[in-house]
């Protein structure tokens, strides 16, 4: 248990390091937000300078960073020049939307991958093998193709909305209509992410279960006459869960990166389009805050997987 507490502390330090790294990079950019104003010939030099001073863009790096850290401690994540609003309010909804999408996608992917892995591991020939090979070959299809392909499908068939998280008239819907609308919008981004994750997950699930079924203690249990179903679920699965839980932690980074692209292509209002826009408009505080949000998700996910590992494996608890 102390170990988990230490991990939390470690994550906090890491987060601080990431904030420094991110700030370093964005602050090193030539030009800043005020440069966009220069394109407009009607804006005078003094206005630009005043804008700079107002946002503190003319101060040196250490001062800006120190000020920013101080503000963060008070819950103020800075100001977005492009949106003309405090960053915290922007980040909150966007991060929530990204979290929502990624959690749903993760659940669906694992709910498909694990049974698929169990099924194909316990049978070596026939349909299971074909399906498993088919799924594995999907690994060659990049997310960008999937997203664009699904979008194309959506437009051609009209079965799915072509982007966004909710319809325009969402607020006026009744409860069930709202739910249906949300699911309709969720489907394509989720499918894209799921298909992106599935090959690796299914492969590892199959390997983990196959290895578990082959383990000596399973074989002796089988020799004792324990029925196959009980063998599978009470004995093999908990054993196979270990590498799978670790895999979960490792696959998060790829998932979050994938979701960035998918959100941009499918106009899902998450962190993806936010950070992209911020990079393009040199909205530095938004960039840093988005990076931190994604890092928090990654660290939290890893911490959760550590927790699950702890809960699942009595050997770890004994240490």
């Amino acid at each position: 248990m102390k170990y988990l507490g230490l991990r939390l502390l470690h994550s906090a330090l890491l987060l601080w390091g990431v904030s420094l790294l991110a700030f370093l990079f964005v602050a090193a950019a030539p030009g800043d937000f005020a440069d966009a104003l220069r394109l407009n010939p009607q804006v005078s030099g003094t206005t630009i300078a005043a804008t700079r001073a107002r946002y503190g863009l003319d101060k040196s790096f250490p001062i800006r960073y120190a000020r920013w850290i101080g503000n963060v401690a008070r819950g103020d994540l800075g100001y977005s020049f492009a949106y003309d609003a405090p960053v915290a309010s922007l980040i909150w909804t966007r991060a929530r939307n990204t979290l929502f999408l990624t959690i749903i996608a993760t659940l669906v992917a694992w709910l498909i991958a694990v049974p698929l892995g169990v099924w194909s591991a316990s049978r070596h020939h026939g349909a299971a093998n074909i399906v498993s090979t088919g799924v594995s070959s999907l690994i060659a299809v990049p997310d960008i193709l999937l997203a664009l392909g699904f979008l194309y499908l959506a437009v051609q068939t009209g079965w799915f909305p072509t982007g966004g998280m909710v319809s325009v008239a969402f607020d006026q819907f009744g409860y069930w209509a709202k739910l249906r609308d949300l699911i309709a919008h969720l489907t394509l981004p989720t499918m894209t992410l799921v298909i992106g994750m599935l090959p690796v997950l299914a492969q590892h699930a199959r390997a983990a279960v196959a290895e578990a079924l082959d383990a000596p203690f399973i074989r002796s249990a089988r020799a004792h006459g324990i029925p196959q179903r009980r063998l599978l679920f009470s004995y093999a699965l908990p054993f196979a869960a270990n590498p799978l839980i670790s895999l979960f932690g490792l696959s998060l980074a790829a998932l979050l990166s994938g979701s960035l692209l998918v959100e941009v292509i499918m106009s899902w209002p998450g962190l993806g389009p936010l950070i992209l826009g911020a990079v393009e408009s040199r909205d530095i505080y938004v960039v840093v805050a988005s990076v931190l949000a994604s890092t928090i998700f990654l660290l939290a996910g890893n911490w959760v997987s550590d927790l699950l590992l702890y809960a699942n494996d009595p050997r770890i608890r004994a240490e």
């Binding site: 790294l21 990049p142 193709l145 194309y152 960035l260 393009e280 040199r282």
Partner: protein, 343 residues
């Protein structure tokens, strides 16, 4: 035997793809920047063997396209004159590897009529040619980035693993830091530190450098682990016992042990870096016009009307599939061979 087949199949596939992309000038019928404004977003040309009169030709041919004003901006084949497709035709001149010049193309239409295997883009540029030229850029960026990240990772990892102590601690903290972010977020952050629009000559080199900088962490960690274990082996200790210098030990004993692992890493990293370039260029932050890359070729698809009406613009994305498949097969085979080897 069957395993060997996979390896050679993957290698052959990759060799074929790379060959196409090293010599785009020859394999592509047209130059990537040659515009035909009257034929904006023309669909892929159709190949025929039987003409309107019912006569079968030995040589495949196509028809010239004209604007179809009745269908509001589409194109229709002008069925008067069949235009044969020939192999090894003379066309626009190009340079091979920057040294030689030639005007021989692998295939093309007779006369100055156009044959667009993958249709055209907004400016009437041949998409097939642009895919070939674009592929060259994307893959080159991927290869350079892989090389950079492996070199950087190996140097840092080897030093940290060999000398241990504070250099090791420093490295591992650094690795942790770089891996604490999802890679695309890290990439965007690093990209944010550069000017938004970079002169196109340097763009893809700069891009490759950025990718390499972002991707050093995993190779470094891998190399560090391996060096740590190899360093303790008895034959290294023996060599030290003869008075071998650190450089000698690294060069003759330790680093050669890493060669097969590094090769496998390379096979895994190249497609990842190519995908990163494609993603960045697609988002407008990578290679930009007029230099083609698979990424910026796909950028127009962000507009719905392009996506729905001009499906052939998806070809650059489709081409990624055999490319990835080849590398993944290769990497799997190499990894399998590594684990099978006893040392």
């Amino acid at each position: 035997m069957k395993r060997n087949l996979k390896f050679w199949a993957a290698s052959a596939l990759l060799a074929g793809i790379h060959l196409l992309l090293i010599f785009p000038g020859f394999f592509a019928p047209y130059d990537y920047s040659a515009q035909n404004r009257e034929f904006s977003y023309a669909p892929p040309s159709r190949l025929h063997f039987v003409d309107r009169a019912g006569k079968t030709h030995f040589r495949p041919f196509t028809y010239a396209l004209v604007r179809d004003d009745q269908n509001s901006g589409g194109y229709v084949e002008a069925s008067n004159k069949p235009i044969p497709i020939r192999f090894f035709v003379r066309g626009s001149s190009y340079s091979i590897l920057g040294i030689f010049r030639s005007s021989l193309h692998s295939f093309g239409a007779d006369t100055s009529a156009k044959f667009w295997l993958m249709g055209t883009d907004q400016f009437g540029r041949d998409e097939f040619s642009r895919v070939l030229y674009g592929g060259r850029i994307s893959i080159l960026a991927g290869l350079i980035a892989t090389l950079l990240s492996l070199i950087l990772g190996t140097i840092l990892g080897a030093l940290a693993g060999f000398y241990s102590g504070w250099s090791d601690v420093l490295l591992m903290r650094g690795v942790e830091l770089f891996l604490a972010l999802p890679w695309l977020y890290l990439l965007l952050t690093v990209r944010a530190s550069l000017p938004l629009h970079i002169s196109t000559i340097d763009t893809f080199l700069l891009l490759a450098a950025v990718l390499g900088l972002v991707g050093w962490a995993r190779p470094a960690r891998l190399v560090r682990g391996m060096v740590l274990s190899v360093k303790e082996r008895n034959y290294v200790q023996s060599a030290r016992g003869f008075g071998a210098s650190d450089v000698y030990l690294l060069r003759r004993h330790i680093l050669p042990q890493l060669s097969s692992v590094l090769l496998t890493q390379a096979a895994l990293l190249v497609p990842q870096f190519v995908l990163a370039e494609v993603t960045l260029s697609f988002l407008g932050l990578g290679v930009s016009e007029p230099v083609p890359s698979w990424g910026n070729l796909l950028a127009c698809l962000q507009q719905y009307y392009v996506l729905t009406s001009y499906w052939w613009m998806l070809f650059p994305a489709l081409v990624l599939v055999p490319f990835f498949a080849g590398y993944q097969m290769l990497a799997a085979e190499l990894a399998r061979r590594n684990s099978a080897a006893t040392f």
